[in-house]
């Protein structure tokens, strides 16, 4: 197990180096000059030239790449060109905001998706099965942008049940410690604020969780159907176990592996930032941060941001792999 873990961690290194090469090449292949976009029309040619020199953009690519890697290995994640602030310092609150939203969205997606999938498989070919699979199909193809705006229109503007934007009530700001406001409000014991924070989470997490939910529902259903037809389930039924126990205890466990894979992949994808959701709901997450960096050709932020996200993604994948063996003892890592 330990040697497996070490091996897996070692594999991360070439993966991440590969990432840096890919990101670096893409960034430099797209047209657009950071000096022009960041300093804008208002700056003199002289200061634009100074910026190019300072960024080393006048040097050959290879040299630029090695300079970047050199800084990276020394733990220097770089400084944003646009805000002139170290990225390591800047990115943490964004990551926390995205983490909170992703967690909420995946809770929603997993809970609804897994249960809808189980029920659909259990009551295969029933009206519930048909309806939920149609909803899942719509869910997968739903434009998030439209969904988000509709949610705001209905639940904020018409019904006044929920706030339309942001993470908290700015008139009564949350004291940020971890930048995960759900946790911060619990630490502070501000239950009223916790409730406000949760209300701010509902609409964006539904918008963000809809597509994963639909994917999870479909995956759970097909995986459950396969298991439900196997011999041991027939035995369990023959033993006279209750339907519920058969489905939720015996069948679910064996059908979870593919579901877990999907949940892991989707979590990774959402952590990479959900630009659309973050834009509509004015959520200060990492997706918008990197998106803005791309628009302004803020090279260091793009490079470091994507690298961090790639890192999180591979770590989640590793965790999922490790979970497999917890669920299915037949899978063992040596």
């Amino acid at each position: 197990m330990n040697s497996y873990l070490i091996k897996r961690v070692m594999v991360l290194i070439p993966v991440l180096i590969g990432m840096t090469i890919i990101v670096f090449s893409i960034i430099h292949a797209i047209p657009g000059d950071p000096a022009e976009t960041i300093l804008g029309q208002k700056a003199t040619e002289q200061s634009k030239q100074a910026l190019r020199e300072q960024l080393g953009l006048d040097k050959p690519w290879l040299q630029q790449y090695f300079n970047y890697m050199g800084d990276l290995l020394q733990g220097d994640l770089g400084t944003s060109i646009r805000t002139k602030t170290p990225i390591a310092k800047e990115i943490m609150p964004y990551l926390a905001a995205t983490l909170e939203l992703t967690a909420a969205a995946m809770l929603f997606a997993t809970f609804v998706g897994v249960n809808a999938g189980i029920l659909s498989a259990w009551k295969q070919n029933s009206w519930f099965d048909y309806t939920s699979m149609i909803i899942a199909l719509i869910g997968v193809s739903m434009p998030i942008f439209w969904l988000g705006l509709m949610e705001q229109m209905i639940f904020a503007l018409k019904l006044h049940w929920l706030p339309s934007i942001g993470r908290m009530d700015q008139r009564d700001p949350v004291e940020s410690i971890t930048n995960l406001y759900v946790i911060d409000t619990i630490i502070a014991g501000r239950w009223d604020q916790l409730w406000t924070v949760i209300k701010h989470l509902i609409l964006p997490s539904i918008a963000l969780g809809t597509i994963p939910m639909a994917i999870i529902a479909r995956m759970t259903r097909s995986s459950m159907l396969e298991v439900m037809n196997s011999d041991y389930i027939r035995t369990a039924k023959a033993k006279g176990l209750s339907q519920f126990l058969v489905v939720y205890k015996h069948a679910l466990k064996n059908s979870l592996i593919p579901v877990l894979t999907v949940v892991g992949l989707q979590t990774g994808a959402l952590l990479g930032g959900a630009v659309l959701t973050e834009t509509i709901f004015a959520w200060p997450g990492v997706g918008r941060y990197i998106f803005e960096a791309i628009s302004s050709r803020d090279y260091p932020v793009i490079q470091t941001g994507i690298l961090i996200i790639a890192f999180i993604f591979v770590v989640i994948n590793l965790l999922v792999d490790l979970l497999y063996s917890a669920i299915d003892p037949r899978i063992q890592y040596k």
């Binding site: 000059d33 029309q41 003199t44 809770l107 997993t110 019904l159 006044h160 004015a282 628009s295």
Partner: protein, 556 residues
């Protein structure tokens, strides 16, 4: 082992279910337990309920972007300057709602006869937010920081772009020396007279920072600014909100009227408008013209208009044939129906542009007549240029991919123009690459034949439109038309050196005539940027440059 793992799994799933169940239940609970009514009113009350109770002393503004930095000296973007404007004061300021200069930190000023020495008398007893004194030394410290390329207070990544573009880059600085004559007198010695000097001094970028704070906070000053302005900086949550508190010792009597100002970044236009209607914000920037009718139907809201201080235009790429031919440029000028475009895409919130600068700016030439919309004249001019059947090649028209106050939807406007030009036999293909590429391409001038762009004035001086955008000195750079006219250059340079405003005004009028005849552009519109606010918000004076004080704002 088996059992344990399945137990653990059950626990994980159970937790998942309970947690998400909780969220769901609570939600359902509020709807259900109160039988609908109380819950429905309950929910918003935590947000907008407290709003109606406490907005009396808190102003919440919603805008599209976030600040890049809070130190006004190192930025040029409007979003950053908007916040800096609340925290810093400059020696002079623009009279609210205009581009006219008036006293601020300097009570009065004198200019020597040769225009080379400016002496400012400073307002006595002003203190920075950190409690230190504002005095002549502080002014000297700031100007030295901006002008000395080796200043130890020019921190990593800093560049003083507005200082360089307004007062000349290193090597050709306009300001030779800044001297503290005594505690409350400061003297500027110039290398050469600069007509818009006072206009420049009043810019937000030249807000005076606390020297003590700059020295102590160093590179962190741009995140924790300290000035003398009406509001003190409290907190900045990036891409989310900036919080400012009242400066209780503000040197202007009775100001600011608000205790607190919170400026939120809400990138999506319609989400921002929803937030305003939902009571989550009190004032919003950049109302989309499409939402104007909704706003006007809502008696709780009001519209605020900024005076037009911008120009949107199509520029010809003069490096490319046949646009090096003035007849062709004039022909296409005749073939754009500006009024129809304004009615269709600006909800009427714009006026047709004739000159490259807005009519509200002094020096504007009223006597210049626009190329009226007349397709027959257009065809005749094309024929004169040697193209009786229209242009043989398809023209690449670059349309802006982003929304700007002067151009909310570049692609639609380009399509309307495309349809008009089709009628005179000019076929176009519209291209709209992503913004960074767009700026690069138009600056290089290789791919585009005609491009769309705009400009918002910085300092209330015609120089900031005509010289900045159309002089040959601005190639390569802001003069993306590659338009170089020696006569125009002489006029514009003379206007820069002249200190008599009436004479300068005449020179700029002359410049506009030259530009009109050469037609390097098709000036399209001057727009009226729109803001929306709660109906009971008062005291907000919209200014032409888009930076306004929140200090006079109050709720009725």
């Amino acid at each position: 082992m088996k059992k344990w793992s399945s137990l653990a799994l059950a626990a994980v799933i159970g937790l998942t279910l309970t947690l998400s169940g909780c969220g769901g239940n609570n939600n359902a609970g509020t709807e259900g337990n109160a039988g609908g009514n109380t819950a429905a009113t309950n929910a918003p009350q935590t947000d907008s309920g407290s709003a109606s109770a406490s907005t009396q002393d808190t102003l919440i503004v919603g805008r599209g972007g976030d600040s890049a930095s809070l130190d006004p000296a190192i930025v040029t973007d409007g979003e950053s300057l908007k916040i800096a404007h609340q925290v810093f004061d400059s020696l002079l300021e623009y009279k609210p709602g205009t581009s006219e200069v008036q006293a601020s930190l300097a009570d009065s000023w004198e200019v020597s006869a040769d225009g080379l020495t400016y002496t400012f008398k400073l307002h006595p007893g002003v203190k920075f937010h950190d409690g230190t004194d504002f005095n002549a030394e502080a002014v000297v410290f700031n100007f030295t920081r901006w002008s000395d390329p080796n200043s130890e207070f020019k921190f990593e990544g800093d560049s003083f772009d507005y200082y360089d573009s307004m007062f000349g880059p290193d090597g050709s600085r306009v300001i030779k020396e800044v001297k503290a004559v005594d505690d409350s007198t400061v003297q500027f010695i110039l290398n050469q007279p600069q007509a818009p000097f006072l206009q420049n001094i009043a810019m937000t970028s030249f807000g005076i920072a606390s020297p003590t704070a700059v020295k102590e906070k160093k590179e962190n000053f741009k995140n924790e600014p300290v000035g003398t302005g009406p509001f003190k900086f409290v907190e900045w949550k990036r891409n989310d909100a900036i919080t400012l508190d009242k400066n209780a010792d503000y040197w202007k009597e009775g100001l600011p009227k608000m205790n607190k100002v919170i400026v939120r970044s809400i990138p999506d236009n319609s989400a921002r408008f929803t937030a305003l209607q939902n009571g989550e914000i009190d004032l919003m920037e950049d109302l989309s013209p499409d939402d104007l009718s909704t706003l006007e139907g809502n008696s709780d809201l009001q519209k605020i208009e900024r005076p037009p201080f911008n120009v949107a235009y199509l520029g010809f790429n003069l490096q490319k044939a046949p646009f090096d031919n003035v007849k062709v440029r004039q022909a296409l000028n005749h073939a754009v129906n500006k009024q129809a475009i304004i009615d269709a895409f600006f909800a009427g919130q714009a006026q047709p542009a004739v000159n490259p600068m807005p009519p509200s700016l002094w020096g504007y030439n009223d006597s210049v007549q626009d190329y009226e919309y007349d397709l027959d004249k257009a065809k005749a001019l094309l024929a004169e240029a040697g193209y009786p059947d229209g242009l043989p090649d398809t023209v690449t028209l670059y349309a802006m991919p982003v929304s700007r106050p002067y151009m909310p939807d570049g692609k639609k406007v380009a399509e309307a123009i495309q349809a008009d030009w089709e009628k005179i036999g000019v076929k176009t293909v519209i291209e709209s690459p992503e913004w960074a590429t767009y700026l690069d391409d138009t600056k290089a001038g290789e791919k585009d034949d005609i491009y769309m762009l705009g400009w918002t004035g910085d300092n209330g001086d015609p120089d900031n439109f005509l010289y900045t955008l159309l002089d040959k000195d601005a190639i390569p750079g802001n003069n993306r038309s590659f338009y170089a006219n020696e006569e125009l250059h002489t006029v514009l340079i003379n206007a820069q050196k002249e200190t008599d405003q009436a004479k300068r005004s005449d020179l700029y009028k002359q410049a506009q005539e030259i530009i009109k005849a050469d037609a390097p552009w098709i000036p399209l519109v001057h727009t009226t940027p729109l803001l929306a606010a709660k109906a009971n918000l008062k005291g907000y004076v919209p200014g032409p440059t888009g930076t306004e004080y929140y200090s006079e704002v109050y709720f009725e």
